[in-house]
Amino acid sequence: MIAQARELHGAPSFGQFIRVEAEMPVVGIVFNVFTHSIEPNRRPTAYGKTEEELRLEQPQIFELLRTEFQALVIGYLDGDEAVQILPPQPARIHSFAYLCSDEQVRAFTRSDDYLRSILNTSKIPTDELVIAVLRHTVRAHAHAPSYLVQMGKELSRLLSDDYDRLSSIIRRVVN
């Protein structure tokens, strides 16, 4: 799922939950953010100036750039209920994407399925994403230590007791 940010550099952060409006809103986790030129064939060139200097001297170049982000679909909302399976239909082109509220994040992260979705996806930096997601969800769960322990235990199971990986993730989540 790819979305374009409304403003340049205005994408949600890595690991945040987003929701794409639809009849059954699709929920995903941001795992990639990138800014590039509108023209596929033109690459932005380094000017050796700060952003502020450039905005004064050549404001048009910022109009030629856009920020996009990629999200990993982890489920959808059926009414208020969180469903942890792929949505029946993909999100439509031109649908609006929003950040999930804390409540929606909590609904989606009560069980460990989102961790499994992340770990089972290839070609993304899974460990980093798990850490980022956990840091966001723990905040949504009001930093409850018991939640972190519960997720840690699930993670331990999902990683099939890869102790090194587990301990590195846990340590980085807490720091």
Partner: protein
């Protein structure tokens, strides 16, 4: 059976807290439970009482062992540091977990009626059956409750970490010989006193107690760290129902009580059979006993007084007269001379035979404590206990035979329990064949006599005797041989071994055998004012309460 609804579905209330699930095991080797991560492994003590809730049965089990386990060697090689609290918490119950070994002791079908008791275990629960802490009514269902109409159950303590009673079935307890074992200082005397109180209070057996260290009759010392206090003896608790016989009346009086009877033994009461078990103590050689028989053959019951009257050189002449080996008889004479030093040995009895007197008391249902006062030598104890027990034994055999012949209920002898301390002296493999106690332990059940064996060295007791012991109440034992001995003749003992070795050194005991449906570790009941009043002793009650109780009792006895 309040715990179950009528259809056998467990009611939500009355179940204990879940502490884990069964993961593997077998009927023979016991079951293994994975402890819930929220539970602290330090709360799982050996001997703790838990209930496994199977699909069709509840299994009452005992914790026998615990193990720390990890599914990943990496964790053990690089354990999380002290600062990684979260990581430790995460690992607990996932990569690192605790396994608790359980031994199912009894099972109870969930649809069992109220009057059905628990049964021996013949099945095991399925995978992932819940394990719960036992609740008060689980314990009551198994061990019964004090205060039943029959007076059958006597509370002897509480299960570990629980407040409910564990009861001994006193009828079954009195039926067979019993043992109370434990290292010195672990509370054997207290356990014995408790058991005796139960027997006397519920009147299930009349007791004859050979009280070597003057602990049971009147006042006893309570070792309480640095301070020493005194607790009440049986005489103080049960008054008229206990009589104190004393071998050393002065010592008994010095402790503040007048003995009901002073014990004297005449030389004529001693037979060769009484001397034979003293071989060890007197350092007799085997031929000495044979010489004694020679003297006996001629002088009958006067053999000992005749022999002891002789002086030095006369003995050899005497030996020639009766055709005995002179050296052997001289040695026998020299060694038996020690008996003359005992103040209770007299040549002529003044006020009747003490054994007849004891028997009279026992017939009336009065319990007899025989105090040894300062006569604490093993020789004296062995000699006196043997003489008296042998005579009592003969009388009981006669009484029982009369009862078998007449079959009249009034001829039925009262169940008698004889308490002996330092029992291994009487019941070691050598002596058990010679002393009367060996016979009693082996076969006297049908003659209404049983033993209460109190000992700190059960491994020295003859196996044949040990295997006949019905109920064993065991305080801490460390020696592997002793543990082995205590568990002789008990099935499924693998787990109990660890339990026995890990008991506290005070106020804890393992009870196995006839009087309890399953082995159980208890914290012994306090022997305090509350216990005294439960036993019907009112000395410590405030005057007001005492009067009320007396009035109540009077009303109960004579009507309003």
């Amino acid at each position: 059976m309040a715990k179950y609804a009528h259809n056998g579905v467990p009611a939500a209330a009355g179940r204990g807290k879940q502490i884990g699930v069964i993961t593997k095991g077998s009927l023979v080797e016991g079951l293994e439970m994975k402890l819930d991560p929220e539970q602290n492994v330090e709360d799982m003590k050996a001997g703790k009482f838990v209930v496994i809730e199977g699909d069709k049965n509840d299994f009452f089990s005992m914790v026998t062992d615990m193990r720390l386990d990890a599914n990943n060697q990496e964790v053990l090689l690089h354990p999380p540091g002290q600062e990684d609290a979260l990581l430790r918490q995460v690992l607990a119950g996932t990569s690192t977990y605790n396994i608790v070994s359980l031994r199912p002791m009894l099972m109870m079908p969930k649809d069992a009626g109220a009057d059905e008791g628990p049964r021996p275990v013949k099945a095991i629960p399925s995978h992932f059956s819940e394990v719960q802490e036992a609740m008060a009514d689980d314990v009551a269902k198994i061990f019964g409750c004090e205060g039943d109409a029959e007076g059958r159950y006597f509370s002897i303590g509480n299960p570990l970490d629980m407040d409910t009673q564990v009861c001994l079935d006193m009828i079954r307890f009195a039926e067979r010989s019993n043992g109370i074992f434990g290292k010195t200082g672990t509370g054997k005397s207290f356990l014995t006193r408790l058991a005796l109180c139960g027997l006397i209070h519920y009147d299930k057996a009349v007791n004859l107690i050979f009280d070597m260290h003057n602990e049971y009759g009147f006042k006893a010392m309570k070792e309480n760290g640095s301070s020493t206090t005194f607790v009440k003896g049986l005489k103080q608790l049960f008054g008229e129902r206990v009589a104190i016989f004393s071998l050393d009346p002065q010592s008994t009086r010095a402790r503040g009580v007048q003995p009901d009877h002073e014990v004297y033994i005449s030389y004529d009461q001693i037979t060769v059979e009484d001397i034979a078990p003293l071989q060890d103590e007197l350092k007799l050689n085997p031929t000495a006993v044979e010489s004694a028989y020679l003297v006996y053959a001629i002088y009958k019951e006067r053999w000992l007084s005749t022999l002891l009257k002789l002086e030095g050189p006369d003995v050899e002449e005497f030996a020639r007269e009766i055709g005995a080996h002179a050296g052997s008889l001289v040695a026998l004479h020299r060694k038996l001379k020690r008996l003359e030093n005992f103040p209770f040995m007299v040549s002529k009895l003044r006020d009747g035979d003490v054994v007849d007197r004891i028997m009279e008391y026992l017939d009336k249902g009065i319990n007899v404590v025989l105090e040894f006062g300062q006569q604490t030598s093993m020789l004296c104890y062995l000699l006196v206990a043997n003489i008296i027990a042998r005579r009592i034994h003969e009388m009981y055999v006669k009484k029982s035979e009369r009862f078998y012949a007449t079959q009249r209920p009034e001829d039925q002898p009262r169940q008698l329990m004889i308490t002996i301390e330092e029992a291994h002296k009487f019941l070691n493999p050598m002596a058990a064949k010679q002393t009367i106690f060996g016979t009693i332990a082996r076969e006297m059940r049908k003659y209404y006599v049983s033993l209460l064996v109190v000992d700190q060295r059960p491994s020295s007791i003859d196996d044949e005797v040990l295997s006949q012991i019905g109920t064993r109440i065991t305080a801490l034992l460390n020696d592997e041989k002793d543990i082995q001995a205590v568990l002789t003749g008990v099935s499924g003992t693998e787990g109990l071994r660890s339990v026995l070795a890990s008991l506290d050194s005070k106020q804890q005991a393992l009870i196995i055998g006839h009087a309890v449906p399953m082995p159980v570790v208890i914290k012994t009941r306090d022997y305090d004012a509350q216990f005294y009043s439960a036993m019907g002793c009112m000395d410590d009650l405030p005057a007001e309460e005492r009067r009320e109780k007396v009035e109540r009792d009077v009303a109960a006895l004579f009507g309003e």
